[in-house]
């Protein structure tokens, strides 16, 4: 397989790298300290058409294939140090893919243009206080009522929730059918009666990303708010995870490559005991491991992306990519701190922030343990 970028993809990646360094990185330290979602940068990303890439032009998108979208987000992850913002953007894309794949024509025509333009911010609500990895043990219910459904329950740690205009909410519509067939997906609009969002939750990392709670108290959703068909929620979720576990690792791999690049630079410039520290195997082997993982991560990523680009199933490949790249990133960030010694622990040198951000990567979109469970099952257990 040839995973080299086309000239167009190469040009787009270069443009995004320059854009991110010029527009997205300045001021990050202060934003991160304050823990605020950067609405202004969201708009700049939207103007760069980062939210429109994979969607058809008839729905306000730019009509690029998924492989190109992955290549561009790979570049974004590399150049943009604001990992919270990058994660918010990927969440928007994944919400859009679900509407595109499962929504009816009216929903696609109504919601995709505002999503692709960034005019509306989207969130996807699955996790609940009592159900994290066991997502389908959710308790939020959607009960039939004339003309629609009534939502009751709550969600937590939802990405973009405090700033979202629209939320894809997964809820139980038929408890007797258990998870497979008993869960459905609804589009809830901010301002709907009975719907409210909590304040952003404080986090150890990804501090510019807004995560929070959502509350549904007798929140009426008309039939037109049902995405896909009733009972299709679990399958939508499984489908969405394959796309998410390709797009997110693209960004994470970019981060890993940046950490590697900066580690090499530091190891060449920093001297100890009369020579560059990169001459010591204790340092060079850490960097070699980063390089190894970056190379293998790229193979995992583009193998998964090539399958999704052809609309093929890729449960195995996407779990491998998510698990391998997120764990590699966390290890690289930890090593990047270690090889800088005390400086690595100082906030001024940024790597401690990258370490805190990287831990989240092994938790969201299915923890590393859940990815191993999936792989065990696919291996025949």
């Amino acid at each position: 397989m040839d995973f080299s970028f086309t000239p167009e993809q190469t040009a787009m990646r270069k443009t995004i790298v320059e854009f991110a360094r010029r527009e997205l990185n300045p001021g990050l330290e202060e934003r991160y300290r304050l823990g605020v979602f950067p609405h202004d940068l969201w708009e700049k990303c939207a103007q760069m058409r980062l939210l429109a890439l994979p969607f058809p032009e008839e729905y306000g998108g730019d009509g690029f294939d998924f492989l190109t979208t992955v290549a561009v987000y790979h570049a974004l992850g590399y150049a943009c140090k604001d990992s919270g913002l990058v994660h918010a953007l990927t969440t928007q894309i994944i919400c859009g893919i679900q509407i595109w794949l499962f929504g009816n024509e009216a929903q696609k025509a109504t919601f995709l243009p505002e999503l692709a333009s960034g005019e509306a911010i989207y969130a996807q609500a699955i996790t609940e206080p009592g159900s994290g990895s066991d997502a389908f043990a959710m308790r939020t219910t959607a009960t039939h009522q004339e003309g629609g459904y009534v939502l009751n329950g709550s969600k937590t740690m939802i990405t973009n929730a405090p700033v979202a205009n629209r939320v894809l909410v997964f809820a139980v519509t038929d408890a007797a059918k258990k998870s497979f067939g008993g869960i459905s997906c609804f589009l809830v609009q901010a301002g709907s009666a009975g719907f409210s969002a909590g304040k952003p939750m404080e986090k150890m990392g990804l501090r510019t990303l807004a995560n929070g709670e959502l509350f549904f108290e007798a929140c009426f959703i008309p039939n037109s708010g049902l995405i896909g068909r009733e009972g299709q929620g679990a399958m939508m979720f499984s489908e969405a995870m394959e796309w998410e576990r390709t797009l997110i690792p693209a960004c994470l791999l970019g981060e890993l490559e940046r950490i590697l690049e900066e580690a090499v630079k530091y190891a060449r410039e920093r001297h100890a005991f009369g020579q560059p520290i990169g001459e010591f195997q204790a340092v060079s082997h850490k960097i070699a491991r980063m390089k190894l993982n970056a190379e293998l991560g790229a193979l995992c990523l583009y193998s998964a992306a090539a399958l999704k680009n052809r609309r093929k199933r890729a449960a195995l490949e996407t779990s491998v990519a998510k698990l391998f790249i997120s764990e590699s990133l966390k290890q690289a960030a930890l090593d990047a701190v270690q090889l800088r010694g005390g400086y690595g622990y100082m906030t001024e040198y940024e790597v401690e922030r990258e370490l805190r951000d990287s831990i989240a990567a092994t938790l969201y979109s299915g923890t590393s343990e859940m990815q191993l469970n999936i792989l065990a099952k696919l291996a025949g257990l």
């Binding site: 059918k177 497979f180 499984s238 609309r311 099952k377």
Partner: protein
């Protein structure tokens, strides 16, 4: 093997991982019995799409289409036609 036999063979060997005393019937409930769940269905879909060179689209990704060998075969044959 015909479509039903191919599907039965895959479910028996790859999803149940054990030989059965009597073969799975065409109408045996796969979802209710827990043989197929939200994860398993993606594995099955991957097999079906590769084996029969089809691509099952969004609106057909419904649990009832995977509730038995019979319904799965009906779905596959509709795409093949």
């Amino acid at each position: 093997m015909n479509t039903r036999e191919i599907i039965r063979d895959f479910i028996t060997t790859e999803m149940l991982h054990q030989p059965l005393e009597t073969p799975l019937r065409d109408d045996a409930p796969l979802v209710e019995s827990g043989i197929i769940d939200s994860m398993g269905v993606m594995t099955l879909l991957s097999f079906l799409e590769n084996t029969f060179s089809i691509q099952v689209s969004g609106e057909d990704l419904m649990p009832e289409n995977f509730s038995s060998i019979e319904t799965i075969a009906t779905l596959v044959e509709r795409y093949i036609r």
